[in-house]
Amino acid sequence: MRVVVLVKMTKVIRGNPYRTDNLEALLNEKNLALAVNSYDLAALEEAQQLKELYGDVHITAVTAGPESAVKALRVARGMGADELIWLDRPAFAGGQEMELARLLAQEVSGRGFDLVLCGLKSDDVGTGMVGVALAGLLGVPAVTRSVNIGLQVGRGSLRVERHVGKGNREVVQCPLPAVVTVERSRQAPRYPGVARYLTAGKKIVRKDGTAGLQPVTAPVIPLETKKAQPRPKKIFIPDENLSGADRMKMIMSGGMARKKKKKAQTQVSGSEQLYNFLLKHGFIERL
């Protein structure tokens, strides 16, 4: 099975970002580090898991960007990738996700694939759109937010556990070829093997990442960049249509109405009351 894993480097701010509100100080070269995108590490781990579980999996890691992007391929090699493709080009800016998706689609469809794995989103800018856009361009199904990927018997399709919110998961079946975005690997991403990491350079195939791409006009222009301050969260507000006195009352009670109920006149023990109540409201089942 041919698995392509898309990887990239992301910018990470070192130290505690709260220490100052001065953006220039925070984004000073000395404060920025490059690291492999954490979700991409999870994708690499899942690819390696597939190889270990089912054998006969050929893993190609692909990255796009300048020289600094190559480190992601070294890490991928260290984690088990068989083939390393570097699409050499200047770094993409935020808002160029469609261009990136087209470049990757060109590369991936050109070489043929059964499964494309990529991180859910990038740690730095994080629009989380490239995987979906790629599936759209390739015309294949996509499964997002996977936490566990397996192959179905017969291997024509995947069985993917995906996160659907509130900690709940959904198991889906997806025919191959497909694109899967990875939220978490089933176990923590392994450390790259040092020997493979160090010798990865020989494996890297450099390609021109600028050929045949039309630039996309961005729909927006950046106006202002500053240190992020938390935006006000939604907060309880007394109903503005009430009178002043009633607004005060709502504030005093925290907006929670007191429930009127009948005085309990019961000889039943507390645990019985609890049991009966839970039964009546369907929280537990009768024997």
Binding site: V164, E170, P219, A228, G270
Partner: protein, 343 residues
């Protein structure tokens, strides 16, 4: 049909609603309130696009959403399962034809996916997880998003004619009925089907483990307070939670005593929870704590003090010693389970 198209072209700002059973998610109302505010300033109209796969009563919804600022409602008929791609691609197709200024979607798991498919379909960038919407000097839309782990804020302004695809963080904007008496027009259903994704089939649903789930997400909670008295007694809270597949929470006193960690503290300095069932044990119900319970659907209070304020809020009040009640309840549940096994 032509007339409908013409009318839809008037709707410069689109809001994609997300349903949950028979209702819309709170995040939809937050977003609609905020977009309607901008629309009023720009003299625009707002159209809400609504996936009809849920059990939504459309007529009623049209009446309700108007008050929040929707001018029209366009029902999108998807196939239900995996609807995000169907809806997203359908919106992209519609937007190509009608050129709205922007499509706004609340940033949820579903919302993000719909937005990604919409942006991909339009071949444009996605402005994800924005925290602030506004208008620039020429009434153009502006939006801010945080990058580098919430450290850097970038403010963007719309440039050119492309339709923007924007998702907006949930839980920021206050919901407000700013347009009393306004009723939204219900437009004709629009198909939203995309072939390729129907090959993805949902096989199974796995519920979150109550032991590890964030208490904000927990459907059932057992919460202990001062009245539990000791760490040993607090173990009864855990055991009860286990029996009921519930998560464990605590009050500030419980946290101060080290019975629960800060991540499990409910109340003003802790978290606000919204479970279906909450069993409150030995909690007096000071308002600082009960403010965190506002969204609880069904509240059981166990406290020896029959005058404790928590009893006034409870659906069931048990005036007894909480550790005793829990110990007996656990025993009862266990015998029931044993009998069930032997049957």
């Amino acid at each position: 049909m032509e007339r409908v198209r013409k009318e839809m072209e008037q709707q410069r700002l689109w809001v994609v609603a997300e349903s949950q059973g028979e209702e819309l998610k709170e995040s939809t109302y937050e977003l609609l309130t905020e977009v309607a505010r901008l629309a009023a300033q720009r003299g625009n109209k707002v159209m809400v696009l609504l996936d009809t796969a849920g059990d939504i009563a459309l007529e009623k919804m049209a009446e309700e959403l108007g008050v929040y600022g929707a001018e029209a409602i366009l029902p999108l008929a998807s196939a239900g399962q995996n609807s995000s791609r169907q809806v997203g691609e359908a919106i992209a197709a519609l937007a190509k034809e009608l050129h709205p200024d922007a499509v706004f979607i609340a940033e949820t798991i579903w919302g993000h996916e719909v937005a990604s498919w919409t942006a991909a379909g339009l071949g444009t960038a996605l402005l994800a997880d924005c925290v602030e919407l506004g208008l620039g000097v020429n009434q153009e839309l502006t939006m801010s998003r945080h990058v580098y782990g919430d450290t850097v804020a970038i403010k963007f302004a719309a440039a050119g004619e492309q339709t923007l695809v924007v998702t907006v963080q949930s839980g920021l904007f206050n919901v407000k009925k700013s347009f009393p008496g306004q009723k939204a027009r219900l437009l004709e259903r629009h198909p939203a089907r995309a072939g390729v994704c129907e090959s993805v089939k949902v096989l199974e649903f796995i519920k979150a483990d109550p032991k590890t789930v964030d208490i904000i997400d927990a459907e059932r909670l057992v919460v202990g307070g001062k009245g539990m008295g000791t760490a040993e007694n607090y173990a009864l809270i855990r055991e009860t939670a286990e029996v009921l597949s519930a998560a464990v929470g605590g009050t500030r006193v419980a946290r101060d005593n080290g019975w629960v960690s800060l991540v499990r503290q409910i109340g003003q300095t802790g978290k606000t929870v919204a479970p279906e069932l909450l069993i409150s044990c030995g909690v007096s119900g000071a308002i600082q704590h009960t403010m965190g319970l506002k969204e609880t659907k069904c509240l059981v209070a166990i406290n020896t003090d029959k005058h404790a304020p928590i009893h006034k809020l409870a659906d069931l009040s048990i005036v007894e010693d909480a550790p005793k009640v829990l110990a007996e309840f656990i025993a009862k549940m266990k015998t029931t389970a044993e009998r069930r096994q032997s049957v």
